[in-house]
Amino acid sequence: MTVAALGIDAGSTTCKAVAVDADGHSVGWRLESALPRVEAQTDALLVALALELGAADGVPVVATGYGRKLVRAATRDVTEITCHARGVFADLGTGGTLVDIGGQDAKVIRIDERGRPVDFAMNDKCAAGTGRFLEYTADRLHVPLDDLGPRSLAAPRAEHISSTCTVFAESEIVSLIAQGADVDEILLGLHRSLVSRIVAMVRGVGLTPPLLLSGGVARNDAIRELLGRETGQPVRLPSAPQLMGAYGAALLALELTR
């Protein structure tokens, strides 16, 4: 196994690195919670991955994510839009419409038949429609993050949460709790609220099937299920949804060697 290129995704919530061989197959990865010192963390993460896999010095590195400009070891930096598109395209072998829901932003990317992003929308100004929205409200309801999806899907009906804004949604939750509403039904309402926000972004960009889903929130089954229901499209997930940015970055780094 020879490491031919590395990709690093310095995201707002997590920091990910992926190594690929000369054929573009993933041969190793690391994922950590993001620390405030992006330079130091990305240096250490890349060194650790390279040592673990025996990567030679001088392997090209492409950085992506909000901290991409701060990655000292990067040969080049590329936005997360292009990297996610490239990573998901390589993993699933198809273009389409990708929804990527990360910790602090959500993106919808239309990917062409060559794996290139042709249009996109980003929600990055507030927590509405992002993992942070779920995290915050889960915390408010004292529900572990991993239980959010299963408990929502088990709810027989949903409470209506009209706001996609984290702060306003919280006040709606407070009122619902005060009225004795069921927690799982509130959770389902929250998931619906988030998905409605995402679907509006999908409509803005235009849905070209298949519908693809990546990012940390892709681990939540309820999001996948509701997104499919709302759009009428089956939702496909790549093998490692959280690593697609770093994987795409590694593939772009590999292109630098050609």
Partner: protein, 361 residues
């Protein structure tokens, strides 16, 4: 080439030395030669971006654009003390509101003049505009104490039309100019406050490439919107491998007024304003504007349209869906971003623009 462009304060001092009354002018369209003929000098107020806006925010709803809020704040803080009058053209509802707030509530010492350009170019609109320019002239005569004679008119029209021709020529020579985008727009925007002759000399001083211009594989963009602030935007675009090959900015190409052959000065000024490139604040039909943008994208070699709007700018936002649809249908990429009219660019905005440039490669 002038290395440093005089500041607004410098231009104000020059105009004072020439015995002109200083008029702070809000965006966008106004008959500049009318001011000169009346021995007035316009210094335009577009924010400014560095102004915190707190004093203006006291007077407006939270959803008022940064230009109006910051301009009001700036005038209250220091602007009113430095000028002899303020002119608020009615470019949009926000500016109209500003004119009312300044006149009725702030009531500063310098008089607040308003100017209402029509939204159409029918014969009745033309006749109305001529009268509106005459009325503004009477107010300016009160400010400066000077009523122009024939020689004043001839001098003012010649000087301002030469400056407008120099601006048009800058756009015409753009592909040959040996200056980066930042410098180009610094010079274009100097038209907002320099005297006509200083601007004409500055524009003429921009050097051209010796040989063929260096195409260097950058992604060409057509930049639309009100104002490209902060100017760092151009440096960041260059670092992303993009450059602006044409614009549809209210502070740029939308004020390249065509010449007029009419003899009467008021009719001539009206004629030129009505012939301005399509602009929502002059009520230009959206369809014509979209069609022309597509033509200009093709002619300039741009690969995409970057719509860079001031947050809460209603006239611009209203047009975005139609522009997006028409420009996309013609095969060009479109990105719409909003900015707060400040001195820094948020990382998220830069990421969107950079991703857009990547999609156009």
């Amino acid at each position: 080439m002038h290395d440093t462009i005089p500041s607004r304060s410098g231009a104000l001092a020059v105009a004072r030395e020439q015995g002109r009354a200083i008029v702070a002018v809000l965006p966008y369209h106004y008959p500049r030669a009318l001011l000169r003929a009346h021995r007035c000098h316009p210094i335009e107020v577009w924010g400014p971006p560095f102004e915190p806006g707190d004093l203006g925010a006291l007077h407006f709803q939270a959803y008022t654009c940064g230009i109006v809020v910051k301009a009001t704040s700036f005038l209250v803080r220091e602007g009113f003390d430095r000028v002899d009058a303020v002119l608020v053209p009615h470019g949009c509802d926000a500016l109209q509101g500003m004119g009312s707030v300044l006149g009725d509530f702030v009531a500063p010492t310098p008089p607040v003049l308003t100017f209402y350009p029509p939204r159409r170019a029918r014969p009745a609109d033309r006749a109305y505009l001529v009268e509106e320019i005459r009325a503004l002239g009477r107010r300016l005569a009160e400010v400066s104490g000077h009523t122009p004679d024939e020689a004043d008119w001839a001098e003012a029209l010649a000087a301002e039309e030469a400056a407008d021709a120099a601006l048009a020529d800058l756009y015409h020579r753009r592909g040959r100019l040996d200056v980066d985008d930042r410098r180009f727009y610094e010079v274009v925007r100097a038209r907002e406050y320099l005297t006509a002759e200083d601007f004409t000399a500055l524009a003429a001083s921009l050097p051209e490439h010796d040989g063929a211009p260096d195409a260097d594989g950058d992604v060409g963009l057509l930049l639309s919107g009100i104002v490209a602030e902060p100017l760092d935007l151009f440096d960041r675009l260059r670092a992303m491998g993009a450059r602006v090959v044409a614009d549809d900015l209210a502070t740029g190409w939308r004020r390249v007024y065509p010449p007029s052959t009419l003899a009467d000065p008021y009719e001539r000024l009206a004629d030129r304003l009505l012939a301005a490139p399509p602009d929502p604040t002059l009520g230009a039909p959206l369809d014509a504007r979209a069609g022309l943008l597509v033509e200009r994208l093709r002619a300039s070699g741009a690969r995409g349209l970057l719509i860079y709007d001031v947050t809460f700018c209603e006239p611009e936002l209203f047009a975005v869906p139609v522009l997006r649809e028409r420009v996309t249908a013609a095969g060009f990429g479109v990105l719409h971003v909003e900015h707060e009219l400040g001195t820094t660019l948020p990382n998220q905005t830069l990421t969107r623009i950079e991703a857009f440039v990547e999609t156009l490669r």
